[in-house]
Symmetry: C2
Subunit: 347 residues, 2 copies
């Protein structure tokens, strides 16, 4: 046993190694058991007044900060959720909404950003290691990866990725309905007979849904003059798409349907500044998402506005409900997008 030290010597010794004082240090310093220290910090922990005073004195003198993570090991809650997002640069509103809403509720966000949706598999191991209470995923998972969540009983909510054949919770914007509204609008005003459809990244299910619905709906309405080119959601790929449509058709179509707003901006800029054409007088353009810049006067884009605030709120609430009660059955919530009436469709 160590020679008896005065409290001030002990305090100095602790100060010298002061980085991350632990409950073990507090117990040693107070001369009590570690479990007694734990009980002082646990709600409803049984501990005598004298013991509590002794521990709290040590806590104060050592500058001990009760450790949320260590507490998590006791309650088996980390009070952390993981948020996995791709395309952060194209749609930062989603992350800032999710982050703000979790923070409001005292839940912390461990962030994983992906360059490409298909990278998600590689980071799941890291997610498991932190034993987060739940995960919001705005990327595509393979069925086996979803199964891994179930196996570990980690609640999972998809953001804008819905699975029709797997029972898993999700919050989405109705891509099909939104796309149909846009196509109807273009076709029914009678001045658009030829179309280009610009899809997003090949590994994005959302982009795929939007593009497929646009193609289907155009066909259903009897339109036959359609070219399809692929982009990657970026502004630059929207510009390129115009050149590629031009190369394929030899002329520009009446309207260009883009799988997101960012590509629509690139498309509009290339039409205006690359081809010296007017939008919408020469070519109409529509997007999807309703990002902030859609409302800028330079674009004033016709698009489908996703109700990001309501969707983020729903995702946060659904996840935390399932952290509280793991056996809640999966639920899919599908929000209608709202048509943003801009000035990029000609009469």
């Amino acid at each position: 046993m160590a020679a008896k030290l005065t409290n001030s010597t002990k305090s100095e010794l602790f100060a010298a190694k002061k980085r991350h004082v632990t409950s073990y240090d507090v117990a040693q310093y107070a001369g009590v058991s570690q479990s007694a220290v734990s009980r002082c910090f646990k709600s409803g922990g049984s501990v005598s007044r004298k013991m509590r005073e002794r521990v709290m004195k040590a806590v104060e003198e050592l500058g001990y900060q009760p450790n949320a993570i260590a507490r998590g090991l006791i309650t088996r809650r980390s009070n952390m959720v993981a948020v996995i997002v791709s395309n952060l640069n194209y749609y930062p509103e989603v992350l800032s909404q999710l982050s703000a809403r979790f923070t409001e509720r005292g839940v912390h966000v461990l962030l994983f950003t992906l360059d490409q949706e298909s990278d998600v598999g590689r980071i799941l191991d890291q997610v498991w290691q932190y034993q987060v209470d739940g995960v919001v995923v705005a990327a595509h998972l393979a069925p086996g990866e979803i199964e891994a969540f179930n196996k570990r009983n980690v609640p999972l909510v998809f953001y804008n990725r819905a699975y029709s054949d797997i029972p898993v919770s999700s919050v989405s914007c109705d891509q099909v309905e939104g796309q149909r509204i846009l196509v109807n609008l273009l076709v029914k005003n009678g001045s658009h007979k030829s179309f280009a459809v610009v899809s997003g990244p090949a590994d994005s299910v959302v982009s795929m849904q939007r593009t497929r619905e646009a193609m289907n709906r155009l066909h259903d309405l009897g339109i036959e003059d359609i070219v399809q080119v692929s982009g990657d959601y970026s502004y630059d790929s929207g510009r390129d798409a115009v050149d590629r449509v031009m190369a394929q058709r030899g002329a520009l179509p009446d309207a260009i349907i883009c799988a997101n707003d960012m590509m629509a901006f690139g498309c509009m800029d290339q039409l205006r500044y690359g081809y010296d054409l007017r939008v919408p007088e020469d070519v109409s353009v529509v997007g999807f998402d309703g990002v902030r810049a859609a409302g800028w006067s330079s674009f004033n884009l016709v698009t489908i506005q996703q109700p990001v605030d309501r969707m983020a709120e729903a995702a946060v609430q659904m996840l935390l409900d399932r952290v509280e009660n793991y056996v809640l059955p999966p639920e899919k919530r599908i929000f209608s997008g709202v048509l943003r009436n801009g000035a990029t469709i000609r009469n």
Copy 2:
């Protein structure tokens, strides 16, 4: 003591409560001490071959995932850093760069987003609770708040917030130099005699530095016709700024200097679509940051491009160096911004 159970019964019992299998569960299942389990997962931990086999069998059967957080309690490292950002919507590139670079190195990011820079004090308590290894802060801290980091020996690196009178690490873009380049460019070409300067949020030190330097430099170069109005970094506040300049001066100045790009876009759109003026023929506009949209043909903005990739890399490296070795002295790294030659200054 519990009656002896067969392994398959035990395995089922554990499966029933399988959420978050802990090292305690593994120890119980294997019939060994918890410290023996820990030694199996600690690099260099001394443990017999037989013991390791026994533990690993339990690990496999229970689906135990060695817990990064629990391991952190042993090494006193959480392998997590906090990133505190404000203005996420105006400048998502910073966060996505920081996040990608930490992730590359196997370090995880606990994200705190702020609506307003001045909210930062309220979240520091939450940061302490997670005992992160270090923090990157892209917001302003009061001296007492910085002192709280020192007291806890938590390494801290500021992103784009430098303190001249406090020894603390920071990575910044040279706001003063950048602003001076822009003002020189405008004044020296001889066609700008009257100016408006649009500042950002009142609690942003970066905005304050940019605006102050613009005012000082204009005065130094003998310009006297200057109005100053304040915005909040948003596109809408850039639009409003034009109206307020108009109200104050009764006419628009030759050039408008905005404290960030987003306000410059709002400004340009209001000049073009609100007043039917041409940029730059009627009014020149400059921004600061070099966000992606500055390169869009609709804007093609003259601005100072912050070298975000190099700045993010420096911030990550400086922080992790200090996590390794806490006694490294503070360091300030100041990167020059790069002039982006657009088409928003008239000849």
